[in-house]
Amino acid sequence: MTKMNINSEQSRIALLFLSPALLSIFVFFFIPVIAAFIISFTDFDIYSLGDYSNITFIGFKNYIRLFNDELFWVSLKNTFLFVVMAGPLSIAVSLSAAILLNSKIVKLKSLFRLSYFIPVVTTLVAVAIVWRFIYHPKFGIINYVLGLIGISPIDWLGDPNWAMPAIVLMAVWKNFGYNMIIFLAGLQNIPTHLYEAAEIEGANSFQQFKSITLPMLAPTTLFVGLITMIGFFQLFAEPYIMTQGGPLNSTISIVHYMYQEGFRWWNMGYSASIAFILFFIIFIGTLIQFKLKKNHTI
């Protein structure tokens, strides 16, 4: 057999192995993405559901309308606010937890690791419901604890200034364990001789952190930043359960707005255009993070 033959034989079998997965990804992922793009240029709505002849191509009208839609800007602002608050906070908390747990003097590491990690695996809807009551202005635990140290009760989910921070707090609680595990893996990959050498040169632990840990963790941090950002931009269940987007629309997110327009009011064309804006933002966010990393390493 010639090499050529082997390759084409291999290609054929590879295709056989690949086709179930690739076919379903193609049909149920890539085609919908393209279709969503097309729908976003139509006025697909409740009238069209009854009669497809009521669909018309309206060019960029949905996007133009979005541009003038106050609620859309509010949802955009809220989502950014959420990402900007929760993202760094989550990374900071998870990195600190990882560093503490990576320390040689800590006993029962796996127990602590487990208790930080449990929120990650629990069902978001269920914990959002629990947190809704934790934040209750009269009967909630948080206000009770604050009351003990003399802080007057806060209407967490009812006050437009506090609702988003409340959701941020819950999201960080839910999510930091995941990032912590990744950071732990990253920390364990840093060769110990680097620290030994630094110690000999008399560097204190903060200097070691700054000049060894942080740079060595840069790729891990980029990855963590990326997945955290992508995840947080898709904020939905927390406001859906805890605040329904309120008060004063202070917690309505892009995805929540998209859901309402598309599946509550059946303005599917409009909703598709919102989805694409979300995609675009995540895409830009990813580019920026890679760019930052590049500059960093040079």
């Binding site: 006025d43 709505d45 409740i46 009238y47 559901l49 009854g50 009669d51 009521n54 309308r65 106050e70 609620l71 209750h136 202005p137 009269k138 209407d155 989910l157 009812g158 006050d159 437009p160 329904q244 309120g246 008060p247 004063l248 629309n249 309402q260 599946f263 509550r264 009011w265 059946w266």
Partner: protein, 427 residues
């Protein structure tokens, strides 16, 4: 390959089963009802099947929260049942998308279904562009639930009958409570109904020009909205909606003294207001703006409709007639506590002498439908509530809010205007 084969098999089966439906075969009427009603109605089925040998009724329950999505999905995939329950504010939506059948011919020939048997405002909600699409099954409206003991403490031995009295009573209750955090009235911004009711009492028209533009900036609507907002300004109603997790508990604890709500609460109030509290709560018709007591309220409830693709309309109609029979309506009330649609049933002593029911009877004399456009749900639940919240928190003045509301509602109605222009929907 396989798929087209299986589709072919399914189609053949459908045809076969269609052919089988000959005269002496048993026919099944599919019926969807929402929430608890789906459970209660099953108790009425055996009697119907006994009266109509050869007919069977299959009931499916669908939860209220997802009912509308579910029905629209079913419509789009041609899966609507023969007969189903429809909240009467949804009728415009389902008639415009061509999901339900107009019933005028059937009503004309009917012995027991007749417009005159129903409250005028309620019947009206079922009429779209001159055609009737639904038969009222059970009805509701909103009126005033109040703590009679506390109102009488501030000198109101009978409930407030005008806006002025309502406001005055609220102020006096607030004074009575002093600094304690309790409220005379509950007007949550996530319930649009009271806001719209006040507007209607002030003779506002909510949409204009064939219901194709918002009409919120008109004087009458602004005035009514300002009246509602005055309760917020004077701290007579809790700001935000998170304080009250359990309205019944709040009512018992005097945290709330008055609440504008519907008959579905009667059961819960009865359950929570027990012992010494059972005598302390009452219902009253809506206060009016001027002296025309009772004021107007919203015509609500659920209707029975027949889907367009039903191929046994006569049988489906028989079932609707059965549920509209006075005896069956009475029985359904006793099972479900849903208020009967037939006026005749309201003459029964169980209604006439029920102190919580009397107010409802009076109120039903003066109820009107909300605008009958498919977009109404979005306008009411999303936009009106949104602007009620914004003004309650003083982010916007009422005038500015109503102008913005008009703009947004005009946007929502754009497609409607377009379709009217193309004569695709009747104007």
């Amino acid at each position: 390959m396989n798929k087209s084969l299986s589709i072919a098999v399914i189609i053949t089966l459908i045809f076969l089963s269609g052919c089988k439906n000959n005269s002496n075969e048993i026919r099944t009427i599919n019926f969807w009802a929402m929430g608890a009603e789906g459970e209660y109605v099953q108790k009425l089925i055996p009697e119907f099947e006994k009266l109509n040998p050869g007919l069977k009724v299959k009931v499916q329950m669908i939860p209220w929260t997802a009912a509308q999505e579910k029905l629209i999905t079913a419509f789009a995939s041609n899966n609507l049942p023969d007969v189903f329950q429809l909240g009467n504010t949804w009728i415009p939506q389902f008639s415009v998308i061509g999901a339900i059948e107009s019933l005028d011919n059937l009503i004309m020939k009917s012995k027991n279904v007749n417009e005159e048997n129903y409250f005028k405002g309620i019947w009206e909600t079922n009429r779209i562009n001159g055609k009737v699409y639904g038969i009222p099954w059970y009805i509701d409206t909103r009126l005033l639930f109040y703590r009679a003991d506390i109102l009488s403490k501030v000198g109101y031995d009978s409930p407030p009958k005008t806006w002025k009295e309502l406001f005055d009573a609220s102020l006096k209750i607030k004074n009575l409570f002093g600094a304690v955090e309790k409220y005379p009235i509950y007007l949550p911004v996530n319930e649009f109904a009271p806001y719209v009711i006040f507007a209607l009492e002030n003779k506002a028209t909510i949409l204009r020009e064939n219901d194709s533009y918002g009409n919120f900036a008109q004087k009458e609507f602004v005035e009514a909205f300002k009246f509602a907002m005055s309760f917020y300004e004077h701290n007579l109603t809790p700001l935000g909606i998170s304080q009250v997790t359990n309205i019944y508990q709040a009512f018992r604890d005097e945290y709330i003294v008055m609440y504008i709500s519907g008959p579905w609460n009667i059961k819960e109030f009865t359950k929570w207001m027990i012992d010494e509290y059972s005598e302390k709560w009452m219902t009253a018709p809506m206060p009016s703006k001027d002296g025309n007591y009772p004021g107007v309220s919203l015509a609500g409830g659920a209707s029975l409709v027949i889907s367009k693709n039903c191929n046994q309309k006569a049988e489906a109609w028989k079932f609707i007639e059965y549920l509209s029979d006075s005896k069956v309506q009475r029985e359904f009330y006793s099972i479900s506590s849903d208020l009967p649609a037939l006026k005749q049933v309201w003459e029964d002593s169980s209604f006439k002498y029920n102190k919580h029911m009397r107010a409802f009877y009076e109120q039903f004399q003066n109820v009107v439908p909300t605008p009958k456009v498919p977009e109404w749900e979005q306008i009411a639940f999303s936009k009106i509530q949104q602007y009620a919240e914004l003004t309650s928190r003083k982010v916007l003045s009422v005038e500015d809010a109503m102008k913005k509301l008009d703009k947004e509602v005009d946007n929502i109605l754009e497609k409607r205007r377009e379709l009217i222009k193309q004569k695709k929907i009747a104007s």
